[in-house]
């Protein structure tokens, strides 16, 4: 289909993470010759998951973190639950990759092919119609240019490929996915679920919906329940671009994947109004390269894609490429995230588990559902991800005593603890933004990102409500003691769900992207990662990014075939 005489490739995809992998798969399967540019190092599926299956006694310092190294070179990355000596090789070195903040912002980044799809939390939830209608309804941000019906078929399409295990509930506020069998629950979780049905019937507790396979699926093996997915999984039992989409793209013979490729700038052809060239710096050699393509897909992460657009300013777009609206860099969002309640249970003390379930439970949003909006002094809502564990020696050894009795009490399981981690929706606020530093540059000469974002009134109200509601749920569930966390202890970026800064919308005066993730101002430019998000919902966003990516690829190729692009 392609006339590549003037192009090196039909399409260039920037980034190889959760959306870049999807763009690569979709575009190559539709016959396009695709160049995938990844700024991180090469990483081979399986072979380079060097921390996989290493028990504590194999790890440096038997699992105690090298404190000076982390403080000096990984002060931000080491705040991620997934970061440690068994995964450090996936992450960026903060010292070598600086950014600036006006307010605290945790920017968690990987530095390898596969991106953050290697270390994501794998929780997989559809947005609801209410989520897509939220901005329109309460007036925050601008209306989404699409609704649930536009994306639902693409959710199904993505889910069938990646494999999502979960339980059907039939709830409007959390539409069901195409599910593989759900993972099992702990007995204590079933006890809690039974009590909530009686004492808090407005609350649903279900097993987490996760992109971890409960049966063999599309050539990938069922989970073997070793536990720490974020070390990489050589059996491909959780979805990552490494385990699924990149191999699919490779199989077409149409993909060229180039690691160590830092994209510096997109060059606009002022005659055609399209991106004509992608400028790359090879991070290993310093060599500067230029690639030309008919289509450009930015899948470089929310911040990465927007940084690139801001750095691609030209005479036609002095404030950043495709930024006629002025929205580029603005309306930065994340989820307000933290453990709101931690309850102790003395039930089911004779019950234990076999196998490390890489998943917890989920309480879908139950506040401000349709018909309830007048009952609170805040808008939007939150979901609660729970997990139970029995206390063990690791949380219990700072105490007195010696000898056989100490040893014996430390080796046995203690009471159950149920931790309730809240993810609350963050409003799109113009003041929450990122921009390029006027002077400070990174080691490639690219201006550093500056973050200026903070939680605001509605987020604080949501958190306060979540703490109160989680306490009510803990009591209904039968906790003998509940420790509440009244402070939001995670800065923006802490949930690693950063969204917005190149939002979608129908009005080119207000939005960077149209209903198909296509730049209003630059027709061959698509942005399909989290930067495109117009609002944040309260559910984990990766599934929606993937569905939007597949949908945008379909649209772009049809436009090409129609001769429009």
């Amino acid at each position: 289909m392609s006339a590549t005489t003037q192009y090196d490739f039909d399409a260039i995809v920037v980034g190889s993470g959760i959306t870049g992998g999807w763009a690569a798969k979709e575009l190559t399967e539709k016959g396009l010759k695709v160049l995938v540019l990844e700024r991180g190092r090469e990483l081979r599926h399986g072979a380079d998951y060097t921390g996989e299956h290493a028990p504590d006694w194999k790890l440096p310092f038997q699992g105690k973190p090298p404190r000076e190294l982390y403080a000096e070179e990984y002060p931000v990355q080491s705040t991620s639950y997934a970061f440690g000596e068994a995964t450090r090789h996936f992450f960026v070195n903060d010292k070598q990759n600086p950014y600036q903040t006006e307010k605290p912002f945790n920017w968690i980044r990987t530095d390898v092919v596969g991106g953050r799809s290697l270390v994501w939390g794998r929780q997989t939830y559809r947005w609801s119609e209410q989520d897509f209608a939220a901005n329109q309804r309460d007036g925050h941000g601008i209306p989404w240019p699409i609704g649930y019906d536009d994306i639902a078929p693409w959710y199904s399409y993505v889910e069938k490929f990646i494999g999502v295990s979960g339980e059907k509930l039939g709830l409007a506020e959390l539409p069901d996915s195409e599910f593989l069998p759900p993972m099992g629950m702990h007995k204590i979780e079933e006890t809690i679920r039974g009590r909530l049905k009686r004492k808090a019937p407005d609350v649903n507790l279900t097993i987490g919906r996760t992109a971890v396979l409960t049966q063999n699926h599309n050539g990938r093996a069922a989970c073997h329940y070793c536990g720490p997915c974020h070390r990489g999984c050589s059996t491909g039992s959780y979805f990552s671009s490494q385990s699924a989409t990149l191999p699919a793209a490779t199989a077409t013979g149409n993909m060229t994947l180039r690691p160590n490729s830092v994209v510096e700038k997109l060059v606009l052809d002022s005659e055609t109004g399209k991106v004509s060239e992608v400028r790359v710096i090879d991070s290993q050699t310093g060599e500067r390269l230029r690639f030309r393509s008919r289509l450009v897909f930015l899948c470089a992460s929310t911040v990465g894609s927007t940084q690139l657009l801001l750095n691609s300013a030209s005479e036609a777009f002095p404030n950043g490429l495709a930024n006629r609206s002025g929205a580029l860099g603005r309306y930065l969002m994340d989820h307000v995230h933290g453990v709101a309640s931690m309850g102790i249970f003395l039930d089911d003390m004779d019950s234990y588990w076999y196998g490390n379930r890489p998943n917890g439970t989920y309480i879908p949003r139950f506040r401000n559902l349709p018909g309830q909006e007048d009952q609170s002094d805040f808008v939007r809502g939150y979901g609660i991800q729970g997990n139970v564990v029995r206390m063990n020696w690791k949380v219990n050894y700072h105490r007195k005593g010696f000898g056989a009795s100490l040893k014996d009490s430390l080796r046995k399981p203690g009471p159950w603890v149920w931790a309730m981690a809240v993810f609350a929706e963050c409003l799109p606020d113009k003041r929450n933004h990122l921009y390029l530093h006027p002077n400070k540059r990174d080691r490639f000469g690219i201006p550093q990102v500056v973050f200026d974002a903070q939680w605001r009134e509605n987020e604080y109200k949501l958190w306060e409500d979540a703490v109160g509601q989680s306490d009510r749920i803990m009591r209904a569930a039968g906790a003998v003691l509940n420790l509440k966390q009244h402070q939001i202890d995670s800065p923006v970026g802490g949930a690693v769900h950063e969204m917005g800064t190149a939002r979608m919308g129908n009005d080119p005066a207000e939005a960077v992207l149209n209903a198909h993730n296509q730049a209003h101002d630059v027709p061959n430019l698509f942005v399909t990662d989290g930067a495109c998000m117009t609002s944040a919902s309260c559910v984990n966003p990766s599934l929606t990014y993937m569905a939007l990516t597949a949908r945008a690829c379909d649209y772009a190729v049809k436009q090409m075939q129609a001769g429009v692009l």
Binding site: A47, Y49, T50, E52, H53, A54, P55, D56, W57, K58, P60, F61, Q62, G63, K64, P66, R67, E68, G84, E85, M183, G184, H186, K187, E190, N216, A221, A222, H224, Y225, C226, G227, P228, S234, G236, D350, S351, Y352, W353, Y354, G355, N356, R357, N387, N392, W393, K394, Y397, H398, K400, F402, G403, A404, L406, K407, D408, L410, R411, K412, P413
Partner: protein, 205 residues
């Protein structure tokens, strides 16, 4: 890597029927995997002298003794403590440990005219309990958020922390005192827990 190690590693990495059915192949670079590396405590090192090592071994054994199951010495904890003191603690923490250790050795010699390791178990525990009650103001004992390490913790707290951590994260402690299963292949949340059952090795998921 010899053949036995290779097979062990291979079994660990692809263990279980469904994984091997998928035709997962191993690379020649298996030794780069931490799972195939020697245990942490098998690192070469030489920091303490023979007398210090003899006393340190008995100190760790007094904290976590051999009972019907292995104890600190069986689990290589003395090596862990020595490695951590010199390769993980910062300078200030190391001084606290080394000075506290020296003071203890000298005090025991003065009071008992023999080294710590020659004393009866009852006497050894009494000595550590005395040290612990003198240290009871330390924030090491305070309830709340679990710190990575309490930098100003006195010697006795450092000894306990490194011994307990070193024991339960060791291969012997993890597999013979706690329970460990690298490849469970299923999740079952309804396992019966009997009175004397140990915890699983804790896995950060």
């Amino acid at each position: 890597m010899n053949r036995r190690e290779f097979l062990e590693c291979a079994a660990l990495l692809i263990g279980g029927v469904s994984a091997s059915q998928m035709g997962i192949t191993l690379t020649v670079e298996q030794q780069r995997h931490m799972a195939a590396a020697p245990n942490y405590i098998d690192r070469k090192m030489s920091y303490f002298n023979a007398a210090q090592r003899a006393t340190l071994a008995m100190l760790t054994e007094t904290v976590i003794p051999r009972t019907e199951s292995p104890g600190a010495i069986d689990a290589g904890v003395p090596r862990f403590v020595e490695l951590m003191v010199f390769e993980w603690l910062n300078e200030q923490e190391r001084s606290l440990f080394v000075d506290g250790f020296a003071a203890l050795m000298a005090q025991v010699q003065r009071d008992h005219q023999q080294p710590f390791e020659a004393l009866s178990e009852k006497t050894r525990v009494n000595i550590l309990e005395d040290l612990e009650s003198a240290a009871s103001d330390s924030s090491w004992y305070s309830f709340g958020e679990i710190p990575v390490y309490v930098s100003d913790a006195p010697f006795i707290c450092q000894l306990k922390e490194l011994t307990i951590w070193g024991f339960f994260t060791s291969e012997v402690g993890g597999t013979q005192v706690l329970r460990y299963e690298a490849m469970p292949m299923k999740f079952d949340g309804h396992q019966k827990l009997h009175d004397d059952d140990s915890s699983w090795v804790s896995v950060l998921i």
